[in-house]
Symmetry: C2
Subunit: 82 residues, 2 copies
């Protein structure tokens, strides 16, 4: 079984970069997704183990499909193995 | 913001069908991924809000990339909107 470390950090990096691409602040994203601003920051820093329900709301605010999210996470994982 | 209901059920359906494609029992998947068999069943039935860390271990056992998982979840979501 392959080890895929640092998933929380990779997820946080992906969510942060997608938010920034869309020109959203953490406050705006939190408001639109009913997610507390502090929670948004801690997930983006890889401190929290986000659930699929919270992630679903988050992706909806970012107008991002799960497939797009998954591709970005896979890309992070590959980079970390170099 | 688009509503994408029933994410837990869709995730559970995807994980169950991928496990069955691989010919794995819930017991074998749980053992390989360090996930309790009862937990495996409840996630597959959409009763649990799985986190990205648990999902990461799960996908590793299924030898599934996040992008593949994401595409399958998106396909479920589209079907449910018909």
């Amino acid at each position: 079984m392959p080890t895929r470390p640092q998933i929380r950090a990779h997820v946080g990096d992906v969510l942060r970069s997608k938010r920034e691409e869309r020109g959203l602040t953490q406050e705006k994203l939190g408001f639109a997704g009913n997610l507390h601003r502090n929670y948004v920051g801690s997930v983006e820093r890889g401190e929290r183990n986000i659930s699929v329900e919270a992630l679903e709301r988050w992706l909806a605010v970012l107008d991002l499909r799960w497939a797009d999210f998954g591709r970005a996470v896979d890309a992070k994982t590959r980079k970390s193995k170099r």
